[in-house]
Symmetry: C2
Subunit: 176 residues, 2 copies
Protein backbone atom coordinates (compact mmCIF):
# COMPACT_ATOMS: atom_id res chain seq x y z
CA UNK A 1 0.00 0.00 0.00
CA UNK A 2 1.44 3.35 -1.08
CA UNK A 3 1.62 5.78 1.84
CA UNK A 4 3.61 8.65 0.32
CA UNK A 5 5.50 9.50 -2.87
CA UNK A 6 7.95 12.27 -3.73
CA UNK A 7 10.29 13.28 -6.59
CA UNK A 8 13.84 13.80 -5.28
CA UNK A 9 15.64 14.67 -8.56
CA UNK A 10 14.56 15.57 -12.08
CA UNK A 11 16.23 16.22 -15.44
CA UNK A 12 15.69 14.16 -18.63
CA UNK A 13 14.34 11.54 -16.20
CA UNK A 14 13.08 11.71 -12.59
CA UNK A 15 13.86 9.85 -9.38
CA UNK A 16 10.82 9.02 -7.22
CA UNK A 17 10.84 7.67 -3.68
CA UNK A 18 7.72 5.83 -2.44
CA UNK A 19 6.92 5.00 1.16
CA UNK A 20 4.90 1.76 1.19
CA UNK A 21 3.33 -0.54 3.74
CA UNK A 22 4.09 -4.24 3.14
CA UNK A 23 1.47 -6.99 3.74
CA UNK A 24 3.27 -7.71 7.05
CA UNK A 25 2.44 -4.17 8.22
CA UNK A 26 6.07 -3.04 8.07
CA UNK A 27 6.73 0.31 6.35
CA UNK A 28 9.58 0.62 3.84
CA UNK A 29 10.93 3.00 1.20
CA UNK A 30 11.67 2.16 -2.40
CA UNK A 31 13.12 4.31 -5.18
CA UNK A 32 12.40 4.22 -8.90
CA UNK A 33 13.65 6.07 -11.95
CA UNK A 34 10.67 7.44 -13.91
CA UNK A 35 11.81 7.50 -17.51
CA UNK A 36 10.18 8.80 -20.73
CA UNK A 37 11.54 5.81 -22.67
CA UNK A 38 14.24 5.60 -25.29
CA UNK A 39 15.06 4.29 -28.74
CA UNK A 40 17.72 1.76 -29.76
CA UNK A 41 18.88 2.01 -33.37
CA UNK A 42 20.45 -0.61 -35.64
CA UNK A 43 21.72 1.44 -38.60
CA UNK A 44 22.28 -0.96 -41.51
CA UNK A 45 24.86 -0.44 -44.25
CA UNK A 46 25.51 -2.86 -47.11
CA UNK A 47 29.12 -3.19 -48.30
CA UNK A 48 30.01 -5.81 -50.91
CA UNK A 49 26.63 -7.44 -50.18
CA UNK A 50 27.59 -7.95 -46.53
CA UNK A 51 25.48 -6.23 -43.82
CA UNK A 52 27.40 -3.85 -41.54
CA UNK A 53 25.99 -1.99 -38.53
CA UNK A 54 26.99 1.48 -37.28
CA UNK A 55 28.04 1.13 -33.63
CA UNK A 56 29.36 3.62 -31.10
CA UNK A 57 32.35 3.67 -28.81
CA UNK A 58 30.87 5.82 -26.07
CA UNK A 59 32.31 6.96 -22.73
CA UNK A 60 29.90 6.08 -19.91
CA UNK A 61 30.59 8.03 -16.72
CA UNK A 62 28.55 5.47 -14.74
CA UNK A 63 31.04 2.73 -15.71
CA UNK A 64 34.07 5.04 -16.00
CA UNK A 65 34.97 3.42 -19.28
CA UNK A 66 34.30 3.48 -23.03
CA UNK A 67 31.97 0.74 -24.21
CA UNK A 68 30.73 -0.58 -27.56
CA UNK A 69 26.99 -0.10 -28.01
CA UNK A 70 24.36 0.77 -30.58
CA UNK A 71 23.15 4.35 -31.04
CA UNK A 72 20.34 5.07 -28.59
CA UNK A 73 18.78 8.01 -26.87
CA UNK A 74 16.21 9.24 -24.41
CA UNK A 75 12.87 10.41 -25.71
CA UNK A 76 11.49 13.80 -24.71
CA UNK A 77 8.35 13.17 -22.61
CA UNK A 78 5.90 14.03 -25.42
CA UNK A 79 8.09 13.13 -28.42
CA UNK A 80 6.71 10.61 -30.95
CA UNK A 81 8.91 7.50 -31.01
CA UNK A 82 9.77 7.76 -34.72
CA UNK A 83 10.75 11.43 -34.41
CA UNK A 84 13.01 10.46 -31.52
CA UNK A 85 14.53 7.66 -33.60
CA UNK A 86 15.27 9.99 -36.54
CA UNK A 87 16.69 12.72 -34.26
CA UNK A 88 18.94 10.40 -32.26
CA UNK A 89 20.22 8.66 -35.41
CA UNK A 90 21.21 12.00 -36.95
CA UNK A 91 22.73 13.32 -33.67
CA UNK A 92 24.76 10.20 -32.92
CA UNK A 93 25.77 8.88 -36.37
CA UNK A 94 25.28 11.80 -38.76
CA UNK A 95 22.89 9.79 -40.95
CA UNK A 96 19.14 9.87 -41.55
CA UNK A 97 17.25 6.69 -42.45
CA UNK A 98 14.58 6.17 -45.11
CA UNK A 99 12.91 3.40 -43.08
CA UNK A 100 12.64 2.39 -39.43
CA UNK A 101 11.59 -1.25 -39.00
CA UNK A 102 10.28 -1.97 -35.45
CA UNK A 103 11.93 -4.96 -33.72
CA UNK A 104 9.97 -4.89 -30.48
CA UNK A 105 10.34 -3.23 -27.10
CA UNK A 106 12.40 -4.16 -24.04
CA UNK A 107 12.56 -3.18 -20.38
CA UNK A 108 16.28 -2.74 -19.59
CA UNK A 109 16.05 -2.75 -15.79
CA UNK A 110 12.54 -3.20 -14.33
CA UNK A 111 13.94 -3.45 -10.79
CA UNK A 112 15.08 0.18 -11.03
CA UNK A 113 13.10 1.95 -13.75
CA UNK A 114 9.94 1.95 -15.87
CA UNK A 115 12.13 2.75 -18.90
CA UNK A 116 10.91 1.06 -22.09
CA UNK A 117 13.19 0.88 -25.12
CA UNK A 118 11.86 0.69 -28.68
CA UNK A 119 14.25 -1.08 -31.06
CA UNK A 120 14.37 -0.02 -34.72
CA UNK A 121 16.35 -1.37 -37.66
CA UNK A 122 17.26 1.78 -39.63
CA UNK A 123 17.75 1.31 -43.38
CA UNK A 124 18.34 3.53 -46.40
CA UNK A 125 20.99 5.71 -44.73
CA UNK A 126 22.03 9.08 -46.18
CA UNK A 127 24.36 11.66 -44.58
CA UNK A 128 22.38 14.39 -42.73
CA UNK A 129 23.99 15.22 -39.39
CA UNK A 130 22.54 17.10 -36.41
CA UNK A 131 24.75 18.58 -33.63
CA UNK A 132 25.52 16.01 -30.92
CA UNK A 133 24.63 16.52 -27.24
CA UNK A 134 27.44 18.48 -25.62
CA UNK A 135 27.85 15.98 -22.77
CA UNK A 136 28.30 12.91 -25.02
CA UNK A 137 31.69 11.58 -26.14
CA UNK A 138 31.37 9.04 -28.93
CA UNK A 139 33.04 7.59 -32.01
CA UNK A 140 31.07 5.86 -34.81
CA UNK A 141 32.41 2.52 -36.05
CA UNK A 142 30.93 0.25 -38.75
CA UNK A 143 31.15 -3.45 -37.76
CA UNK A 144 30.13 -6.54 -39.73
CA UNK A 145 26.77 -7.85 -38.43
CA UNK A 146 28.10 -11.42 -38.23
CA UNK A 147 30.94 -10.18 -35.98
CA UNK A 148 28.44 -8.33 -33.74
CA UNK A 149 26.35 -11.51 -33.44
CA UNK A 150 29.47 -13.40 -32.31
CA UNK A 151 30.25 -10.61 -29.81
CA UNK A 152 26.66 -10.71 -28.48
CA UNK A 153 26.83 -14.44 -27.90
CA UNK A 154 30.36 -14.79 -26.46
CA UNK A 155 30.04 -11.85 -24.05
CA UNK A 156 32.30 -9.28 -25.74
CA UNK A 157 29.18 -7.14 -26.25
CA UNK A 158 28.09 -6.41 -22.67
CA UNK A 159 25.48 -3.71 -23.28
CA UNK A 160 22.16 -5.54 -22.89
CA UNK A 161 20.05 -3.42 -25.29
CA UNK A 162 22.69 -3.85 -27.99
CA UNK A 163 22.80 -7.65 -27.52
CA UNK A 164 19.02 -7.91 -27.88
CA UNK A 165 18.84 -5.52 -30.86
CA UNK A 166 21.70 -7.23 -32.75
CA UNK A 167 20.24 -10.74 -32.30
CA UNK A 168 16.74 -9.62 -33.33
CA UNK A 169 18.24 -7.87 -36.40
CA UNK A 170 20.10 -11.02 -37.46
CA UNK A 171 16.90 -13.08 -37.10
CA UNK A 172 14.86 -10.48 -39.02
CA UNK A 173 17.34 -10.33 -41.93
CA UNK A 174 17.57 -14.15 -42.04
CA UNK A 175 13.79 -14.32 -42.50
CA UNK A 176 13.78 -11.88 -45.46
CA UNK B 1 35.34 17.72 -14.59
CA UNK B 2 33.65 16.59 -11.36
CA UNK B 3 32.91 19.55 -9.08
CA UNK B 4 30.80 17.89 -6.36
CA UNK B 5 29.16 14.55 -5.59
CA UNK B 6 26.53 13.51 -3.05
CA UNK B 7 24.40 10.45 -2.18
CA UNK B 8 20.71 11.40 -2.08
CA UNK B 9 19.16 7.97 -1.27
CA UNK B 10 20.50 4.59 -0.12
CA UNK B 11 19.12 1.10 0.46
CA UNK B 12 20.19 -2.07 -1.41
CA UNK B 13 21.55 0.43 -3.96
CA UNK B 14 22.43 4.15 -3.81
CA UNK B 15 21.53 7.22 -5.85
CA UNK B 16 24.39 9.65 -6.46
CA UNK B 17 24.17 13.14 -7.93
CA UNK B 18 27.31 14.65 -9.49
CA UNK B 19 27.82 18.29 -10.37
CA UNK B 20 30.16 18.44 -13.37
CA UNK B 21 31.68 21.08 -15.61
CA UNK B 22 31.39 20.30 -19.34
CA UNK B 23 34.21 21.10 -21.82
CA UNK B 24 32.18 24.20 -22.86
CA UNK B 25 32.52 25.54 -19.29
CA UNK B 26 28.82 25.03 -18.52
CA UNK B 27 27.98 23.33 -15.22
CA UNK B 28 25.39 20.55 -15.10
CA UNK B 29 24.07 17.84 -12.76
CA UNK B 30 23.79 14.16 -13.53
CA UNK B 31 22.39 11.33 -11.44
CA UNK B 32 23.49 7.69 -11.32
CA UNK B 33 22.37 4.58 -9.50
CA UNK B 34 25.37 2.98 -7.75
CA UNK B 35 24.60 -0.72 -7.68
CA UNK B 36 26.41 -3.72 -6.11
CA UNK B 37 25.56 -5.87 -9.15
CA UNK B 38 23.17 -8.75 -9.53
CA UNK B 39 22.85 -12.31 -10.78
CA UNK B 40 20.59 -13.67 -13.54
CA UNK B 41 19.77 -17.37 -13.26
CA UNK B 42 18.74 -19.85 -15.93
CA UNK B 43 17.55 -22.89 -13.92
CA UNK B 44 17.54 -25.89 -16.26
CA UNK B 45 15.22 -28.87 -15.91
CA UNK B 46 15.11 -31.84 -18.28
CA UNK B 47 11.69 -33.40 -18.93
CA UNK B 48 11.33 -36.18 -21.54
CA UNK B 49 14.80 -35.14 -22.81
CA UNK B 50 13.53 -31.61 -23.56
CA UNK B 51 15.16 -28.64 -21.75
CA UNK B 52 12.77 -26.53 -19.65
CA UNK B 53 13.67 -23.34 -17.77
CA UNK B 54 12.20 -22.10 -14.47
CA UNK B 55 10.83 -18.60 -15.05
CA UNK B 56 8.99 -16.15 -12.80
CA UNK B 57 5.81 -14.19 -13.14
CA UNK B 58 6.76 -11.25 -10.96
CA UNK B 59 4.90 -8.05 -10.09
CA UNK B 60 7.09 -5.02 -10.83
CA UNK B 61 5.89 -1.87 -9.09
CA UNK B 62 7.98 0.23 -11.49
CA UNK B 63 5.90 -1.05 -14.43
CA UNK B 64 2.68 -1.58 -12.42
CA UNK B 65 2.29 -5.00 -14.01
CA UNK B 66 3.32 -8.64 -13.73
CA UNK B 67 6.02 -9.66 -16.20
CA UNK B 68 7.73 -12.88 -17.26
CA UNK B 69 11.42 -12.94 -16.38
CA UNK B 70 14.21 -15.19 -15.16
CA UNK B 71 15.06 -15.43 -11.46
CA UNK B 72 17.53 -12.68 -10.55
CA UNK B 73 18.59 -10.73 -7.54
CA UNK B 74 20.75 -8.00 -6.14
CA UNK B 75 24.08 -8.88 -4.61
CA UNK B 76 25.00 -7.67 -1.12
CA UNK B 77 27.97 -5.27 -1.51
CA UNK B 78 30.55 -7.79 -0.30
CA UNK B 79 28.80 -11.03 -1.29
CA UNK B 80 30.69 -13.47 -3.58
CA UNK B 81 28.84 -13.85 -6.90
CA UNK B 82 28.33 -17.62 -6.57
CA UNK B 83 26.94 -17.31 -3.04
CA UNK B 84 24.52 -14.68 -4.34
CA UNK B 85 23.52 -16.99 -7.22
CA UNK B 86 22.84 -19.93 -4.85
CA UNK B 87 20.93 -17.75 -2.36
CA UNK B 88 18.73 -16.05 -4.97
CA UNK B 89 17.98 -19.36 -6.70
CA UNK B 90 16.79 -20.89 -3.43
CA UNK B 91 14.82 -17.76 -2.40
CA UNK B 92 13.06 -17.30 -5.72
CA UNK B 93 12.55 -20.87 -7.02
CA UNK B 94 12.97 -23.14 -3.96
CA UNK B 95 15.79 -25.11 -5.66
CA UNK B 96 19.53 -25.30 -5.17
CA UNK B 97 21.82 -26.09 -8.11
CA UNK B 98 24.78 -28.47 -8.26
CA UNK B 99 26.52 -26.35 -10.93
CA UNK B 100 26.52 -22.72 -12.04
CA UNK B 101 27.90 -22.29 -15.56
CA UNK B 102 28.91 -18.65 -16.28
CA UNK B 103 27.41 -17.18 -19.48
CA UNK B 104 29.02 -13.75 -19.32
CA UNK B 105 28.15 -10.38 -17.85
CA UNK B 106 25.89 -7.58 -19.10
CA UNK B 107 25.25 -3.94 -18.28
CA UNK B 108 21.46 -3.53 -18.25
CA UNK B 109 21.30 0.28 -18.36
CA UNK B 110 24.67 2.09 -18.52
CA UNK B 111 22.96 5.46 -19.04
CA UNK B 112 21.49 5.19 -15.53
CA UNK B 113 23.53 2.74 -13.47
CA UNK B 114 26.87 0.96 -13.08
CA UNK B 115 24.93 -2.27 -12.38
CA UNK B 116 26.62 -5.34 -13.83
CA UNK B 117 24.67 -8.60 -14.12
CA UNK B 118 26.39 -12.01 -14.05
CA UNK B 119 24.45 -14.67 -15.97
CA UNK B 120 24.59 -18.30 -14.78
CA UNK B 121 23.07 -21.45 -16.21
CA UNK B 122 22.03 -23.43 -13.09
CA UNK B 123 21.97 -27.23 -13.48
CA UNK B 124 21.45 -30.25 -11.23
CA UNK B 125 18.45 -28.77 -9.38
CA UNK B 126 17.22 -30.22 -6.07
CA UNK B 127 14.49 -28.82 -3.81
CA UNK B 128 15.98 -26.71 -0.96
CA UNK B 129 13.96 -23.52 -0.41
CA UNK B 130 14.92 -20.35 1.50
CA UNK B 131 12.30 -17.78 2.63
CA UNK B 132 11.52 -15.22 -0.11
CA UNK B 133 11.99 -11.46 0.36
CA UNK B 134 8.83 -10.10 1.96
CA UNK B 135 8.39 -7.37 -0.68
CA UNK B 136 8.49 -9.74 -3.68
CA UNK B 137 5.38 -11.25 -5.31
CA UNK B 138 6.24 -14.05 -7.69
CA UNK B 139 5.04 -17.34 -9.18
CA UNK B 140 7.44 -19.96 -10.60
CA UNK B 141 6.60 -21.42 -14.02
CA UNK B 142 8.55 -23.99 -16.04
CA UNK B 143 8.64 -23.14 -19.78
CA UNK B 144 10.16 -25.07 -22.67
CA UNK B 145 13.49 -23.46 -23.69
CA UNK B 146 12.52 -23.50 -27.38
CA UNK B 147 9.37 -21.52 -26.50
CA UNK B 148 11.42 -19.00 -24.51
CA UNK B 149 13.79 -18.56 -27.46
CA UNK B 150 10.78 -17.81 -29.70
CA UNK B 151 9.48 -15.32 -27.09
CA UNK B 152 12.91 -13.65 -26.88
CA UNK B 153 13.07 -13.19 -30.64
CA UNK B 154 9.47 -12.13 -31.38
CA UNK B 155 9.23 -9.62 -28.53
CA UNK B 156 6.91 -11.46 -26.12
CA UNK B 157 9.81 -11.59 -23.67
CA UNK B 158 10.46 -7.90 -22.96
CA UNK B 159 12.81 -8.17 -19.98
CA UNK B 160 16.25 -7.49 -21.47
CA UNK B 161 18.37 -9.59 -19.07
CA UNK B 162 16.07 -12.56 -19.69
CA UNK B 163 16.30 -12.22 -23.48
CA UNK B 164 20.11 -12.19 -23.34
CA UNK B 165 20.34 -15.07 -20.84
CA UNK B 166 17.88 -17.29 -22.77
CA UNK B 167 19.64 -16.78 -26.12
CA UNK B 168 23.09 -17.42 -24.61
CA UNK B 169 21.73 -20.57 -22.92
CA UNK B 170 20.33 -21.90 -26.20
CA UNK B 171 23.67 -21.27 -27.94
CA UNK B 172 25.62 -22.90 -25.07
CA UNK B 173 23.43 -26.04 -25.06
CA UNK B 174 23.62 -26.28 -28.88
CA UNK B 175 27.42 -26.35 -28.65
CA UNK B 176 27.47 -29.24 -26.12
Amino acid sequence: MLLHTRIIWEKAWRIRVDTVQLPSGRTTERAAVEHPGSVVLVPLQEKDEEPYILTLRQYRFTLQQTIVELPAGTRDWDEPWLECAQRELREETGYRAADFIPLGHIWPAPGITDEEMAIFLATGLTADPLPADEDEELIVESILLSELVAMAMDGRLQDAKSVVAILRTAAYLNDQ
